[in-house]
């Protein structure tokens, strides 16, 4: 108990203790790996949105059409496929058979932008596909809901051009749940890329946490978990703040 409070007190000042394994401070180990994980999470989110926005919007605009069914099947597969399997398949195809991309590793952006991008693509796709599939579903359902709402019907009835209806009345309203789910997905990506980091030898926090579990390196594990929790809180806070920007009604309440 006493130990815990001492640790918590020190943690407030940024002192997370010293790794049993390497003797380095936990803070420096986390700081060393945070950029890699952030890079991967943001890149994965970009991939996710690139997949989700067009696919979700298309299927919402043409419900039960051929496009919609394809999108449903694709996103179902995306959600179901385990990320480690997808990662290995991507490596075998793009690094192995085709030889277009390296099989893993990490090069900082500042060192060699091209090498950085080459190594980022596969892990970003592997993580982004799952998130993208989840977000696609949300885009579709919230768009559909907005499309069916009274004010949209009114807007259409008074003869506004379709583009204006979609852009102003539908998208703006559909954005709200989308921001929530995207925030949750980003938080998930930051803390949930462990497996992908391992497969692609991506030197991020997930790898650090797993190594710490293996070695029973409690200070490091504690620090990593604390950071994951913190990331979750901060992103949720940001999402809440964003709400009031998107929907002024919320801040007035």
């Amino acid at each position: 108990m006493q130990q815990y409070f001492r640790w918590a007190g020190n943690a407030l000042t940024g002192d997370l203790g010293v790794s049993f394994r390497s003797g380095e401070t936990v803070t420096s180990q986390i700081a060393e790996r945070l950029p890699a994980t952030l890079t991967l999470a943001v890149a994965a989110l970009v991939v996710a949105l690139v997949i989700a926005l067009p696919l979700g919007m298309l299927s919402a605009l043409h419900p039960r059409s051929f496009v919609d069914r394809i999108a449903t099947v694709v996103s179902q597969i995306g959600i179901s496929v385990p990320d480690f399997w997808l990662s290995i398949m991507l490596i075998l195809l793009f690094a192995g058979t085709l030889g277009w991309l390296p099989s893993g590793g990490y090069v900082p952006l500042t060192e060699d932008p091209l090498a950085w991008l080459q190594r980022l693509v596969l892990p970003a796709v592997a993580t982004g596909v799952v998130s993208g599939s989840v977000i696609t579903r949300f885009v579709r359902s919230s768009m559909l809901e907005a499309l069916g709402s009274d004010h949209v019907r009114t807007a259409q009835a008074k003869g506004l051009p379709t583009r204006q209806v979609l852009g102003w009345h539908v998208l703006r309203n559909a954005l709200l749940p989308l921001v929530t789910v995207t925030g949750v997905q980003l938080a998930y990506l930051l803390s949930g890329v462990v497996v992908v980091e391992i497969v692609f030898s991506w030197p991020g926090l997930g790898q650090l946490a797993l190594q710490a579990v293996r070695d029973r390196d409690f200070p490091v594990l504690q620090g990593a978990v604390l950071l994951f929790a913190l990331v979750f809180l901060v992103i949720n806070l940001l999402v809440d703040l964003l709400y009031s920007r998107i929907d002024p009604r919320i801040s007035r309440r």
Binding site: G96, G104, Q207
Partner: protein, 508 residues
């Protein structure tokens, strides 16, 4: 050696440089900082924890340190007998209590300082006085002195025929420069005498550059990059498409498919590691010799090896692999279920009998082996209850003696004393099974101080036979050490002690 799969990060490999006898290779320059293009990229499965050779217990660290530091003597690549390294020659006094080492001349450390006897005394005193991980290897050492710069004298409290193995078996006994612990941050820096010097290390890789003034002649490559790739598929793909030129991340199930693959060259040698099953002498009926012998008779090692290692191993009924000068050619058990049933009957135990077999997912091959063993013991009337534990629980239960039986392996041993003393002496620190045989105690104690190698070998041979007959350990197999590299890479040899030595490598 107290090293054991029990402590996965404990001195795994007894790593050593293949002694480069001559040392008259031409120095091509390079080194000393900026690496050139001719860098060997090696995919290893884990990141080193730190680089202090006297402190670390991690195999991942020793893979790197093997190429950075030297010891007084090193095991050769063929049969792991000790050869000169930093010591050119040595003599022992008549009473066997004093060893005098003559040191090699013209050896320099990476920082340019000259190597002499003070460095040896400093290194050994550091290990002994600070009680570092390998201090136990100096158990019989009374003192280490340096009468002159080229001479080191080690005095002993009792004859120690395996002193060379103790000081040379792996780089945990490395020679650092005098005062290195104050001058350098040895956790992240190194100052050795080896063929490569530590350049940098981060979460991605560890980089070594060639040391131009290496006493054995500078390596022909410009450096080595150890890249951490823990996923075998990624490592093998990286090897195939030329991102890396070497890897030891080759799972046994891939060996067969890789053998026919001309994009990859495969090297394999039976290692000094051994897997065994141990039964608890304090739990009935495993205290009964006939019951243990019945189990040893019912198990078919070929099937176990096939399941656990996909055949990439040598079955063995003793600990030391064939090919070692200390190998005991003894295999009394033939898989025979009728004979096993008879032994159980003779022991007077009621069947079916239940045996808890503790394994850990930390070493998945023990789980696979346990499943096969369970299937083999069932028809003779022994129901095996496989208890799969996480490693921390596993270790705790082993320490408490809370088991019927368990499976694991020991690694990194070279000298027979390391194979038998801790495990089978009645006072042995790792004798968790509770084996007690005065005859074995007497043989092992006599062998520990016997200086005639032939007599000593014979004593261990006798002890090993009794240990096998009593089933103190039920020995199963020696796994193969398998490594893969790019076709055309030369000057590399897979070693039975799993030491990774890149000194003589030439890239395709």
């Amino acid at each position: 050696m107290r090293t054991n799969r029990l402590l996965p990060l404990v001195t795994a490999g007894v790593l050593a440089l293949a002694a480069c006898g001559g040392g008259d290779e031409v120095d091509t320059g390079g080194g000393g900082g900026g690496g050139g293009d001719d860098v060997l990229v090696a995919a290893v499965s884990a990141e080193p924890d730190q680089f202090d050779p006297h402190v670390t217990n991690a195999y991942a660290s020793f893979q790197v340190l093997e190429n950075v530091y030297d010891t007084l003597v090193v095991p050769n690549a063929q049969d792991l007998t000790m050869e000169p390294s930093l010591a050119e020659s040595w003599t022992t006094s008549d009473d066997q209590l004093s060893w005098t080492f003559t040191l090699r001349e013209g050896v320099t450390f990476h920082d340019g300082s000259e190597f002499d006897s003070a460095d040896v005394v400093y290194s050994y005193r550091r290990i002994i006085d600070e009680e570092l991980s390998n201090a136990y290897r100096f158990e019989t050492v009374a003192d280490v002195t340096a009468p002159d710069p080229r001479t080191v004298v080690i005095t002993l409290t009792r004859p120690t025929p395996n002193l060379l193995e103790q000081i040379g078996a792996f780089k945990g006994m490395a020679i650092v420069s005098e005062g290195a612990a104050d001058e350098f941050d040895l956790q992240s820096e190194a100052n050795g005498t080896g063929p490569f010097q530590l350049e940098s290390s981060d979460a991605n890789s560890t980089v070594l550059t060639t040391f131009a003034d290496y006493w054995g002649g500078a390596p022909s490559i410009d450096g080595v990059e150890f890249r951490y790739i823990s996923e075998p598929t990624s490592a093998l793909t990286a090897l195939r498409n030329g991102e890396v030129q070497w890897t030891d991340n080759v799972p046994p199930q891939n060996v067969e498919s890789l053998e026919g693959d001309d994009e990859v060259e495969l090297g394999s040698v039976t290692s000094v590691e051994y897997f065994y099953l141990s039964m608890n002498y304090d739990v009935a009926p495993f205290d009964n010799r006939d019951v243990r012998r019945a189990i040893a008779t019912a198990i078919d090692r070929d099937e176990v090896t096939q399941a656990a290692r996909f055949g990439a191993a040598q079955t063995n009924q003793t600990a030391i692999p064939e090919g070692s000068p200390w190998y005991t050619d003894y295999a009394p058990f033939e898989p025979d279920q009728d004979a096993a049933r008879q032994l159980l009957e003779q022991a007077g135990v009621e069947t079916p009998l239940t045996m808890g077999l503790m394994v850990t997912d930390e070493y998945p091959e023990t789980v696979a082996a346990a499943q096969v063993i369970a299937a083999q013991l069932e028809p003779v009337g022994i129901e095996v209850e496989i208890q799969e534990e996480d490693f921390a629980t596993w270790l705790a239960r082993q320490g408490d003696g809370d088991f019927d039986a368990f499976m694991l392996s020991w690694i990194g041993n070279i000298d027979p004393a390391d194979f038998y003393e801790n495990q089978h002496l009645s006072t042995g620190g790792s004798n968790y099974q509770g084996y007690e045989n005065p005859q074995v105690d007497q043989l092992l104690t006599a062998a520990a101080t016997e200086v005639d190698p032939a007599v000593r070998g014979d004593l261990y041979d006798q002890a090993a036979r009794i240990i096998v007959d009593d089933v103190s350990y039920l020995y199963l197999y020696n796994p193969d050490e398998v490594q893969a590299w790019a076709p055309g890479l030369t000057g590399y040899e897979v070693r039975a002690d799993a030491a990774i030595d890149f000194e003589n490598v030439e890239l395709p």
